[in-house]
C-alpha cells in the first residue's frame, strides 16, 4: 500500500457516514434502473422488483464488503467501540468521575515522581558527551577525596595527556553593589577552560579565553541566563556594562544559554587566578573538573594521574607523600546513594498507589459489568466473537485510563510547580524537574499499561460459555465468581496499602527518633546569618578582626539580644575546613574539622566547657596559640597520648598549621598549640552520623573572611533581625547579609533529606488506604444491594438487625484480615529496601507494623460500617416484594 492510499483509507474512516449514504444512493438508483429495464422486457412490477434484487445480490453483504474494501477494518470497529465507550461514560457520569479521579491520582503522583527521578537519576547530564566529564581531586587514600593544592593541580594539568580540558573551581559569595542595597551574589571562581570541560558556549558574547585566569589579566565575569534576567533585568546592553562585585568593577563578557548547567540559577563565573603566594602543595582549597580526551577511559586517566602523583611525591610535604589522585565520574558527585535510595523507595511507593488505583478501577468496572452482562450476552448471542467483546471492554478501559491519565498529567504539572521548589535543595544542581516529552511518554505508557491491566479482568469474565447462561438468569443474578474476583482485588488492595503504611510509619518513627537526637546546642531563640568580607576592603586579618569585634559588640547591645557570637561555621551545617594535628612522638597525623569561634560561641549556644576554660578576648593575634577539643577529639588524642582519661589531654601541646587570613593557598606555619579545654560534643554535621573530631581555635587568632553571626535573643529571634541588620550596616554599610535562619530552621533543613521522603510516602500511604477503603466500601455495598432479597429472607426468618450487621461486618473483617496477613508478609520483604533510610529504627520494627495494621483495620471497618448498617435496615417486606 502506498502512503497516499493509507491516508485515503484513513480519511474514508472519518467520512464513513457520508460514504455509506453515497453507496445507498447508488444502490437505489441501480435497482430502479434494473426494475425499469425488467418491466420493459414485460415483467409485472412485483416480478421486476424481485428480478432486480436477485441480479443485484445481497445488499447487506455489498454494504459490508464496501466498508471492508474502502478502509482498514479494525480501525473502523475501533472507532465504533470508542464512540460507544464514550457514550457509556456519558450515560454514567458518576462512575466516570470516580474512575477518572482515581486514575488521575495514580498517574499524577507517578508522573510527578517520575519527572523528579528522571531529572535526578535517569536523564543524562545536560552536557555534550557527559560521560567524559570527571571530577579530579587529591586522594589521601584510594577511597577518600580531598581538595586540590595549587601546584599539584598545575603539574597534573601540564603533564597529563588524558584531558581535553582540566579546570579548578571554587565557590565564592560576593557582594553586588550599584543597584540599590548591596546584595549577595553567589558565583564560582573557575579556570579559563572550565566551560570547555562542560562543552558550554556563550549565548551572548563569549566565555573565558586562555590566559584570562593568569595574574594581571582584566577583571571579567560570565553570567548565567537567570542572573542576567533577575539581577540585571535582561538588559540587552549588558556586555557593555561593568558590574561591581566586592567593590571591584568587572566587565561582563558573556551570558551562557538558559539551562546550560541544568536548573537555571542566578550565578556568575569569574577566573580563578593563582596568586604567587598561593602556589603551594600543602593547602587544599579548590575542586577540579576535567573532560577526558575522546577514547581515554576513566581507568586510564586514573592510572596516568596516579603515576604522575607518584613521580611528584618527592616534592610533597612529608605527610602527604602517599597521596594520589582521585578521578571519578562527574555524575557521582551530584547524586549520592542516600538520595538515590530515597528516590527509588518513594517511586516504589507511588507505583503501589498506582496499582491500588488500577485495582479500584478494575473493581468499579467489574461492578458495572454486572449490569452490562446481559448486553454482552445478547451481543454474543447475535454472533459477536469473544475477541470483539474483549476488544470493546479493553477500549472502554483505555478511554477511562487515558482520560484519567490526562487529568493526572495536569495534576502532575501542579505538583511539580508547587512541590518541587521545596524539594530542590535535596536534588542535584543539574536536575531541572520539568514535564518534558520523556515524562509525557511515561504518563502515556503508564496509562495504557493500567488500561490493559484493568481491562483484562472484566474481559476474562466474558468467556462465551458463561455468557449464554446469563441470558437465562433473572436480572438479579450476581454470579459468585465475579464477587470472588472483586473480593480478591480488595484483599490485594488492603495488602498493598499495609505495605505502604508500614513504610510510612517506619519513616515517621525514624523521623521522631532523629527529631529527638540532642543537637548538643541550644536551638530555640537562636538566629544565624552569614557575612562575607570582600578582600578589597578587608585585605588583612587586623581589619577583619576589628570588624568582627565591632559587629559582635553592637549586636550584643541590641535590646532583647541575650548573647551574640561569631564563628566560621554554624552547628549542623558542617565545618568547612579541615586540618591535621600531630602529637609529639607520633608520625601519623590526626585529621580534624577546624572550627574558628569567638569567646562567646559556647555561651551563646549553651555548649558546656567540661574541662579547662573557654576562649577569652585575650586569645588573640600575638598571644600564645590555644585550642579547645570536643569529646570525640579528646578521646582520639588520649589514645595517641596513651592517656586513660580523655580529660587529661587538656594542658597538652600538639602541632597544627595556622591558616593564614584569606585563602592564600597556604596552611600557614605549623606551630605548637596548647589544648586549654574540652567541651561537650555539639552536632557539627548532622544528627545521624557520630560527631567527628573537632578542633576549636580562637577566631581572633585565625580570622577568616567568611563568617557567621549567631545571636540568642530573649524573645522571638526573627523580630530582632532588623536591628541586627542595622548594627552590621553601622559598621559597614556595603555588606549584605546572607541567608537568615533560626537554629530550628537549620535543624529542619538538616533533616530535610529524611523529612521529605517520609512525608511523600506518608501522603501516598494515606491515599492508598483511602483507595483501599473505597474498594472495600464498593464491594460491600454492592454485595448488600445484590443480596437484599437474601437478607430480607433471613430477617423474615427471624434474624435481627444486629445479626445482619455482624454478618456483613464479619464478611468485611475477613477480607481485611486476609489482606493484613498478606500485607505483613509483603512488608517484611519490602521494607528491608528502606533500611538505609531509617535512623535507629529496625526495618522490621514490630511496633510500626502493629500501628500500621491497626490503622488499616480501623479504616477498613469504618468503610464497611456504612453498607453494613444499610443492610441491617433492610425492610424484609419491601425487599421480598420488590424482586418477586
Amino acid at each position: 500500500m502506498t502512503p497516499g492510499l493509507i491516508v485515503r483509507r484513513l480519511l474514508a474512516l472519518l467520512r464513513s457516514r457520508r460514504l455509506d449514504s453515497e453507496l445507498e444512493d447508488e444502490m437505489r438508483a441501480h435497482l430502479e434502473l434494473a426494475e425499469r429495464d425488467a418491466m420493459a422486457s414485460g415483467l409485472s412490477p412485483t416480478e421486476a422488483r424481485r428480478a432486480a434484487r436477485q441480479a443485484f445480490g445481497s445488499i447487506e453483504r455489498i454494504r459490508e464488503d464496501h466498508r471492508d474494501k474502502r478502509s482498514v477494518r479494525w480501525m473502523e470497529t475501533f472507532v465504533k467501540d470508542l464512540r460507544y465507550g464514550l457514550l457509556l461514560l456519558r450515560r454514567d457520569p458518576g462512575f466516570a468521575f470516580v474512575a477518572i479521579a482515581v486514575m488521575a491520582i495514580g498517574i499524577g503522583a507517578n508522573t510527578a515522581m517520575f519527572s523528579l527521578m528522571d531529572a535526578a537519576l535517569l536523564k543524562p547530564l545536560p552536557f555534550p558527551e557527559p560521560e567524559r566529564i570527571v571530577r579530579v581531586l587529591e586522594a589521601p587514600t584510594p577511597t577518600r577525596r580531598n581538595g586540590l593544592s595549587t601546584l599539584n593541580f598545575e603539574d597534573w594539568k601540564r603533564l597529563s595527556k588524558s584531558f581535553e580540558a582540566l579546570a579548578g573551581l571554587r565557590g565564592l559569595s560576593a557582594t553586588l553593589t550599584g543597584h540599590g542595597d548591596p546584595v549577595r551574589f553567589d558565583g564560582v571562581l573557575v579556570s579559563a577552560d572550565y566551560f570547555e570541560v562542560f562543552g558550554v558556549k556563550a549565548a551572548l558574547g563569549r566565555t573565558f579565553r586562555p590566559g584570562e585566569d593568569q595574574p594581571g589579566a582584566g577583571r571579567v565575569v560570565v553570567l548565567s541566563h537567570a542572573a542576567w534576567q533577575t539581577k540585571f533585568g535582561g538588559d540587552p546592553g549588558i556586555l557593555n556594562r561593568d558590574i561591581v562585585l566586592d567593590g571591584e568593577s568587572h566587565q561582563v563578557i558573556g551570558i551562557v544559554p538558559r539551562g546550560s548547567f541544568g536548573r537555571d540559577e542566578a550565578t556568575f563565573w569569574k577566573p580563578l587566578v593563582f596568586a604567587p603566594d598561593q602556589r603551594t602543595r600543602d593547602y587544599h582549597w579548590f575542586g577540579g573538573v576535567g573532560r577526558l580526551r575522546r577514547g581515554v577511559t576513566l581507568e586510564q586517566a586514573r592510572q596516568e594521574l596516579n603515576a604522575l602523583s607518584a613521580g611528584l611525591a618527592p616534592l610533597q610535604p612529608e605527610w602527604k607523600k602517599d597521596w594520589r589522585a582521585g578521578v571519578d565520574p562527574f555524575v557521582d558527585g551530584l547524586v549520592n546513594d542516600s538520595l538515590r535510595q530515597s528516590i527509588f523507595v518513594t517511586f516504589g511507593a507511588v507505583m503501589m498507589v498506582l496499582l491500588i488505583a488500577a485495582a479500584n478501577i478494575a473493581n468499579l468496572m467489574l461492578a458495572k459489568g454486572v449490569t452490562r452482562r446481559q448486553e454482552m450476552a445478547i451481543r454474543a448471542a447475535l454472533g459477536a466473537s469473544r475477541g470483539r467483546l474483549v476488544a470493546q471492554v479493553l477500549i472502554e478501559s483505555l478511554i477511562l485510563c487515558l482520560l484519567g491519565g490526562a487529568a493526572g498529567v495536569a495534576l502532575a504539572y501542579w505538583l511539580i510547580t508547587a512541590a518541587v521548589p521545596l524539594l530542590s535543595i535535596s536534588l542535584p544542581q543539574t536536575a531541572a524537574v520539568t514535564l518534558d516529552g520523556r515524562v509525557l511518554a511515561f504518563a502515556v505508557v503508564a496509562s495504557v499499561a493500567v488500561a490493559m491491566l484493568v481491562g483484562t479482568l472484566p474481559s476474562l469474565q466474558l468467556s462465551s460459555g458463561r455468557l449464554t447462561s446469563v441470558l437465562n438468569l433473572a436480572t438479579r443474578g450476581g454470579s459468585s465468581s465475579r464477587e470472588g474476583v472483586r473480593r480478591t482485588i480488595v484483599v490485594a488492595e488492603v495488602a498493598v496499602s499495609l505495605v505502604l503504611i508500614c513504610g510510612a510509619v517506619l519513616m515517621f518513627k525514624s523521623l521522631l527518633k532523629l527529631q529527638g537526637v540532642d543537637a548538643g546546642v541550644r536551638l530555640d531563640r537562636v538566629i544565624t546569618t552569614s557575612i562575607d568580607l570582600p578582600f578589597l576592603a578587608y585585605p588583612d586579618a587586623e581589619r577583619a578582626s576589628r570588624f568582627i569585634a565591632e559587629v559582635a559588640e553592637r549586636v550584643r547591645a541590641i535590646p532583647g539580644v541575650e548573647s551574640a557570637a561569631v564563628s566560621t561555621d554554624v552547628p549542623l551545617q558542617g565545618v568547612r575546613q579541615g586540618q591535621g594535628i600531630t602529637v609529639p612522638g607520633v608520625t601519623e597525623s590526626q585529621g580534624t574539622r577546624f572550627k574558628r569561634i569567638d569567646p562567646n560561641y559556647f555561651a551563646t549556644l549553651d555548649i558546656p566547657v567540661l574541662v579547662g576554660r573557654g576562649f577569652t578576648d585575650h586569645d588573640r593575634v600575638g598571644a600564645p596559640r590555644v585550642a579547645i577539643v570536643n569529646e570525640t577529639l579528646a578521646r582520639s588524642l588520649a589514645t595517641k597520648f596513651k592517656l586513660s582519661d580523655p580529660a587529661q589531654v587538656v594542658g597538652r601541646i600538639v602541632k597544627t598549621g595556622n591558616p593564614m587570613y584569606e585563602n592564600r593557598g597556604q596552611s600557614g606555619a605549623v606551630t605548637d598549640i596548647e589544648i586549654i579545654g574540652m567541651i561537650r560534643n555539639e552536632r557539627v554535621n548532622d544528627l545521624e552520623a557520630p560527631t567527628p573530631d573537632v578542633l576549636y581555635v580562637p577566631l581572633l587568632q585565625s580570622p577568616r573572611r567568611e563568617i557567621k553571626l549567631i545571636v540568642r535573643t530573649a524573645n522571638e529571634p526573627t523580630a530582632s533581625m532588623p536591628s541586627i541588620r542595622e548594627a552590621v550596616r553601622q559598621v559597614d554599610s556595603s555588606l549584605p547579609l546572607g541567608d537568615v535562619r533560626t537554629m530550628e530552621q537549620v535543624k529542619r533543613l538538616n533533616m530535610s533529606a529524611k523529612t521529605e521522603p517520609a512525608w511523600i510516602i506518608g501522603i501516598f500511604a494515606a491515599i492508598a488506604v483511602l483507595l483501599a477503603a473505597l474498594g472495600l466500601y464498593g464491594v460491600l455495598s454492592h454485595a448488600v444491594n445484590q443480596r437484599r432479597r437474601e437478607i430480607g429472607i433471613r430477617m423474615a426468618l427471624g434474624a435481627g438487625a444486629g445479626d445482619v450487621l455482624s454478618y456483613i461486618m464479619k464478611n468485611a473483617a475477613w477480607m481485611v484480615l486476609l489482606g493484613l496477613a498478606i500485607g505483613v508478609a509483603g512488608a517484611l520483604a519490602l521494607t528491608r529496601v528502606m533500611r538505609t533510610l531509617l535512623f535507629e529504627v529496625s526495618a522490621m520494627d514490630p511496633l510500626a507494623f502493629a500501628v500500621a495494621a491497626f490503622a488499616m483495620t480501623i479504616v477498613g471497618l469504618v468503610a464497611a460500617l456504612v453498607p453494613a448498617s444499610r443492610a441491617s435496615r433492610v425492610d424484609p417486606v419491601k425487599a421480598l416484594r420488590s424482586e418477586g
Binding site: G4, L33, A55
Partner: protein, 112 residues
C-alpha cells in the same frame, strides 16, 4: 443446472471493470454491470452489486475517477471514468493476464 456459470475469476473483476471503462468511456454502475453481463453472455454469474466495493477500491487507487450525474430515472448517480493512471494500470494488468494465460496454455499444450 442447465448452463454452468462461473464466478468472476479471482482478481479479474478489476481488470474487467477497467477494460469496460476503457472501451465504453464514462458510465454509471448499472450500465457497467449490464455491459459486463452482456459481454460475458451466459458464461458469468455476477452479483451486479459486487462491482461497487470494487469501484470504491479502484477509486481510492486513483485508477478511476467519479463525477456526479443524473440517471435515466432522474436520480443522482456516480459516473465512473478511467484516469491516465487507470489506463496505465489496465495495460499492466492485460499484460499480466496474457502472460499468465500463455504460461498456463503451455502446460496444457505440452506433450508428454
Amino acid at each position: 443446472m442447465s448452463n454452468p456459470k462461473t464466478e468472476v475469476p479471482y482478481g479479474t473483476l478489476d481488470l474487467v471493470i477497467l477494460k469496460t471503462l476503457d472501451t465504453m468511456g464514462a458510465m454509471h454502475g448499472y450500465s457497467m454491470a449490464r455491459r459486463i453481463e452482456q459481454v460475458a453472455g451466459n458464461l458469468l454469474r455476477l452479483s451486479q452489486g459486487s462491482i461497487y466495493p470494487a469501484l470504491i477500491r479502484l477509486e481510492q487507487q486513483r485508477w478511476i475517477r467519479t463525477q456526479w450525474g443524473i440517471s435515466e430515472t432522474n436520480r443522482r448517480v456516480k459516473i465512473y471514468s478511467l484516469t491516465a493512471a487507470g489506463a496505465r494500470q489496465l495495460r499492466v494488468e492485460v499484460e499480466n493476464w496474457e502472460r499468465a494465460t500463455a504460461l498456463v496454455n503451455r502446460f496444457l499444450e505440452a506433450k508428454s
